[in-house]
Symmetry: C2
Subunit: 407 residues, 2 copies
């Protein structure tokens, strides 16, 4: 073994940490723990029988190309079907505006590779998806966090921040947002806020990355148009994925963007993995083509809707005064806020003893704030577990409040 | 659209080009062209019927976990099976030394991310796999090419180069080699050469990346031990893949390395795609577990052996004097050398007119040399096409030699 491994690492590798969440998930995989920590879809939402049929069909009909290398841009039919879905929503795009990625996480990674030099700044929410921050920081990107109000990223603070940065000759490379059912906050940006942010981005000539894994999981309320559509000039690039609305086990995501940006993603992807697995792409395309996707999506939405309702009810039933939470209209997460002087890390230790787990909100805050916040997932556990888990969580909070740690 | 896209690109993105080969492949996909250009396995080698059965079995037995997110390190069973195969070969490793990647191309990309700062140098062969050079250059790595003799990378030139670099205070980050049936040269390093290179790497305290996609495709001659085994200290990391010995359409590769290096790869992979698709990993594991892999591999080896023989015979039958070629003992490629004053690019134009395609050898030479060389793939076309294609190629060469371009 070489004797200087730590010395020869790139600056990127020197700063790399294992994901807090993924490491934490390992600790919470005891059978008796009710875990609200992950961001996993419910396994009961996976259309196993249909996928058996479709897999056989693909191997019968297109086995040779499904098992061969594919185009870097992705499977033509899958791109067409996804493009059509966006067109039906109102987006003015063609297949040339959409390429398949190996998960939308790859989209975040490639965005980092394409836009960030070491030390470059970018804008993100306070809070923001940890995997985005991780991907960008692996290219030396430096996050500039913008606080949230009930409508998501505050546009007044965004403008103020950009103005200050401009005065100092610092223009961030992009604004990273999750407009629908934000991870971790569970907040959806109304259209007026989306428009404000687009306007500011235009004023300062900055790209927007619209990360949209949960958009199709709306339980109630009205869909807000995608920022890609509201902009319609190519200022916005949008990331999508099957992970929460179909299956994560295929690792299929995609990006919708201006052709000039798509070109950069294709080039960057080539040296990263040549292409996304054609086998799973073709299965997904056939699954969509046969109309099975929308049927299953409806089932998922109903399931998560019920799970969320049970959880919100349990919060109301069990939570002590001083605790507040978001009421997401869709997605997988809600966000809990403890009284200001409480630390969710202290709570975590008690909660684990009481067999319930969550993720510290602070890990989603690039400035280390949010110590009194927590992310709660409601999609993975069943309804009963959601209720019991919240009860345990409430008991833990009460114990912490009373400073009486029961073990 | 922002008005300054080209300006806000990272230095990496500014240097990115679409892969010459992948772009070229698009041009040569006319039905009437016999293409020796790609590096594709023969579709007839894909075990479609077995994969139908296995896919159904996986969905029946482990559907929920196959379609869910998985561990970044990869599927436990697949890692165990692959580890066992290496142990049987003589490698002293445990499952902790092996993690699954989304193609071995991802291994090259992550190696770049982990070890290269912009401007860092690394050693590669003249010639070398283009996808390796592309991945490293996407992190700003600068190749230092070492010429080949009939045994692969010349150790005398390697030592000379490293000595000179050391004098100038420049230590390259790693040595990139493909010891078995090298792409594009078709050369296999004998053990004495492997040992020489390991010794030099130790002397200068440099890691070795052993890229090994073709190793198991040996038609004849004796297997040379892996550099990982010959070293056995962790100086070497080895990349493997199913793409040439099973199916490329799953995009499954892996790395074998010292635990300290594995740790870096796991961290880097987390922000890149979270995990490799569990669905295809579980299918592959089951396929190997049931003993189907080795049976099919034997079939592939026999098929490519015959294809190579037909091609070598055709070379002998048709090639004019002054042309030489390697006689690979396995793998997918052989390398053709035209007389020194001839340019393969001139030949390419004639060859395309005669409906035969290949890849210019120069694209594999980081210093732009090799203008009179060409890479020829013998795995994708059938035996008859291999013979006819070589005849067309020989005709093209003769035409170029006679300076009589027939159209």
């Amino acid at each position: 073994m070489i004797t200087n491994l730590e010395n020869i690492l790139s600056d990127s590798a020197k700063g790399m940490k294992r994901s807090v969440i993924r490491e934490l998930l390992k600790l919470t995989q005891r059978d008796d723990i009710i875990s609200f920590a992950g961001g996993l879809p419910a396994p009961s939402s996976f259309p196993i029988d249909d996928l058996k049929k479709i897999s056989c069909k693909i191997l019968d009909q297109e086995g040779s190309s499904a098992l061969q290398y594919g185009a870097t841009e992705g499977d033509r039919k899958l791109r067409e079907i996804l493009t059509k879905r966006y067109q039906d929503q109102g987006l003015q795009i063609t297949t040339d505006n959409l390429v398949i990625l190996t998960s939308s996480q790859q989209g975040l990674d490639l965005a980092g590779k394409i836009f960030l030099n070491r030390g470059d700044k970018y804008i993100c929410g306070l809070p923001s998806y940890l995997g985005g921050l991780g991907a960008f920081s692996s290219y030396g990107g430096i996050p500039v966090g913008i606080k949230f109000d009930e409508h998501g990223m505050r546009s007044d603070l965004l403008e103020e921040t950009l103005e200050k940065m401009q005065e100092q000759g610092e223009i961030p490379k992009f604004i990273y947002v999750i407009p629908d059912f934000q991870n971790p906050a569970g907040i959806t940006m109304p259209e007026f806020r989306r428009l404000e942010i687009i306007e500011i981005a235009r004023k300062y000539n900055i790209l927007i990355i619209e990360d949209s894994p949960y958009r199709e999981l709306r339980f109630e309320g009205e869909a807000q148009r995608m920022m890609y559509e509201l902009d319609n000039t190519g200022q916005v690039m949008s990331l999508g994925t099957f992970s929460k609305i179909f299956v994560p086990g295929f690792r299929i995501g995609w990006i919708v963007a201006h052709e000039a940006i798509i070109d950069k993603f294709v080039k960057a992807k080539q040296s990263t993995d040549l292409c996304t697995a054609p086998f799973v792409q073709k299965i997904a395309a056939k699954y969509l083509e046969e109309g099975l996707f929308d049927k299953n999506l409806k089932k998922i939405i109903e399931m998560y809707h019920r799970k969320r309702d049970v959880m919100l009810k349990a919060f109301e039933d069990f939570m002590p005064e001083g605790v507040s939470w978001t009421k997401p209209e869709g997605g997988l997460f809600l966000f809990l806020r403890l009284p200001k002087d409480m630390d969710a890390e202290d709570l975590f230790k008690i909660a684990i003893e009481k067999n319930v787990a969550f993720v510290l909100g602070s890990v989603f805050h690039c400035d280390g704030s949010g110590k009194n916040t927590m992310r709660i997932n409601f999609s993975f556990m069943d309804e009963e577990q959601n209720r019991i888990g919240v009860q345990r969580l409430a008991d833990s909070i009460k114990a912490l409040m009373n400073n009486r740690v029961e073990i």
